[in-house]
Symmetry: C2
Subunit: 368 residues, 2 copies
Amino acid sequence: MTRAMNFGAGPAALPLEALERAQRELCDFDGTHMSVMEHSHRGKAYEKVHDEALALVRQTMGVPDDYEVLFLQGGASLQFAMIPMNLLPAGGMAHYVVTGAWGEKAVAEAEVVARTGGGAVKVAATSEKDGNYTSLPTEIAPTDGAAYVHVTSNETIHGVQYALDSSTPFPARPPLVCDMSSDILGRVVDVRAFDMIYAGAQKNIGPSGVTLVIAKKSLLDGGRKDAPVVLQYRTHAKARSLYNTPPTFGIYLVRNVLSWLVGLGGVPAIEERNRAKAKVLYAAIDGSGGFYRAPVDVAARSIMNVVFRLPTPELEAELVKAAEAEGMIGLKGHRSVGGLRASLYNAVEPAWVSALADFMKTFAAKRG
Amino acid sequence: MTRAMNFGAGPAALPLEALERAQRELCDFDGTHMSVMEHSHRGKAYEKVHDEALALVRQTMGVPDDYEVLFLQGGASLQFAMIPMNLLPAGGMAHYVVTGAWGEKAVAEAEVVARTGGGAVKVAATSEKDGNYTSLPTEIAPTDGAAYVHVTSNETIHGVQYALDSSTPFPARPPLVCDMSSDILGRVVDVRAFDMIYAGAQKNIGPSGVTLVIAKKSLLDGGRKDAPVVLQYRTHAKARSLYNTPPTFGIYLVRNVLSWLVGLGGVPAIEERNRAKAKVLYAAIDGSGGFYRAPVDVAARSIMNVVFRLPTPELEAELVKAAEAEGMIGLKGHRSVGGLRASLYNAVEPAWVSALADFMKTFAAKRG
């Protein structure tokens, strides 16, 4: 079937196989003559899906046994509040490393929570320059004694991503909390290097409305007990994410997406595919003789969100329109930074990226 | 197609028409060659769905212009926290009328919030008797000066529902907040009689993962400003429920369900259908010569959740099993109260209820 080549930043392209599976069984799940979304979250049919989705997260991410896997709601935005509500004690200080707009939002919400919770928030490092982010900090101020250190592995809007190798200056000692919304499952990550990882599902995991949290059990157990019960991580950990009615159809789709990922060879295979896609696109940019320009430092370039500019905003608008006519959508950069952005999440087919690179070459030849 | 006769309490049966529409366009929404769940929540294709769903809530519920309609996440359980976080000022007192397990949960969470927020919580009335709920309070203690009064229009577990007529003793003066999770859209309700109505979607509105809030703008505007930004109602009101990524596919399904409801004649028509279904089932219970027994006071009987008992728990288990063999599922009562429960939400077909009533007569004749 004809598929749009969807380079949107999220909600984003999902694997066609996962969607078609959902379509096939939408009105009759597993021979039950009901949709999976009509099943009780406490019934066998749904619980099987729920447990399979949790197990697939453990399998694909290599989650150690002393970590919890939770499916929550509210996206990263609710995590921005829940993290300090749970992990920032009165008198404690949370350190934030800010490398883009999402890190800024996380700090702002933590400050609101700290105000009523008796804690404090500190920006331990930022790579902000003239209101923009095109690099990563090389140093982080000492974080000894921090309640936790919060980082953003990939900044979706700016296309800035940590390599997560020896060049990445994450502190080892305090609990390290990572917003991995836009690059989770896109490359191999050592879960043990973090104390908590969280992500909205709507980039690499599934549809919007599901939030994934992976965290050390001891971290969640030691959290504050004065937050509303529904906003305490331990509540959901104790109940296997069934404390209240979960977004069952969303979790079902996560199951479908992760099954597809396993079939493809898991995260190592998708990482190779993602790196190849990014290489093709950055090559098209770098090889354009300056017509296209990637503003982000080479070392900080994201393999998930490729941000680039053209000589003028008019040409940028023209490219977006011309690309849409070719079935390539979602290329407009975030309104706060302008320019263009191609998101290359897991479900974005390599063929789409090649088509985009070819299209960009032709466009540059005509307008350059 | 064969359909299970789903009497489950939620996530519950959805209209087949709404599901089939979703199935048809799952991989290609509106000719865009993408699933609706792959569309950006800030793009035209999804925004049209979002606005249509909001408009359908206004249309079907008759929501006045000075009320906001919000789509949130987290279900009623998160509302139990958000309501006092927003509406219970330091030094203020919230009054709760408790008529079942959900009201109890709402009080418990409000007490947690009050502890850190400087407010207080009071049970203004309860119909609890020997740990169970089979009636409604006829009187509510004076609520003058209350920050708000919280009521539950229908208690899903106990099958206790307010008539919302002159027999219902709701106070008129303080802001009246109603958990309408399990009977919203099931009968005509005057929205003006409440200051805030909220409901998890998974009974009469759509799939789990979407929460509907309808509230007076002035109530939300006057709320506390020290709660985390993502947990303040005004944040979502200002942003037309697009502050952060909403559960787009869930809202799309709400659109489908409400379109079906409008096609059926709207809430007045579905109320008539619901009352007829409940009449059939209660008649089967009352006419069984005591084999079936409805524990709830006649005046408090729910038309949405029909709770009943058999002479012994063994017979109850036998009926559940025999009904399943006939394609009737979800009849087991909540584990906390036992017995049987048939939920007769909007999407439960009258023919299913007749089939159940017939089945119950046959079962009673054999075992009575």
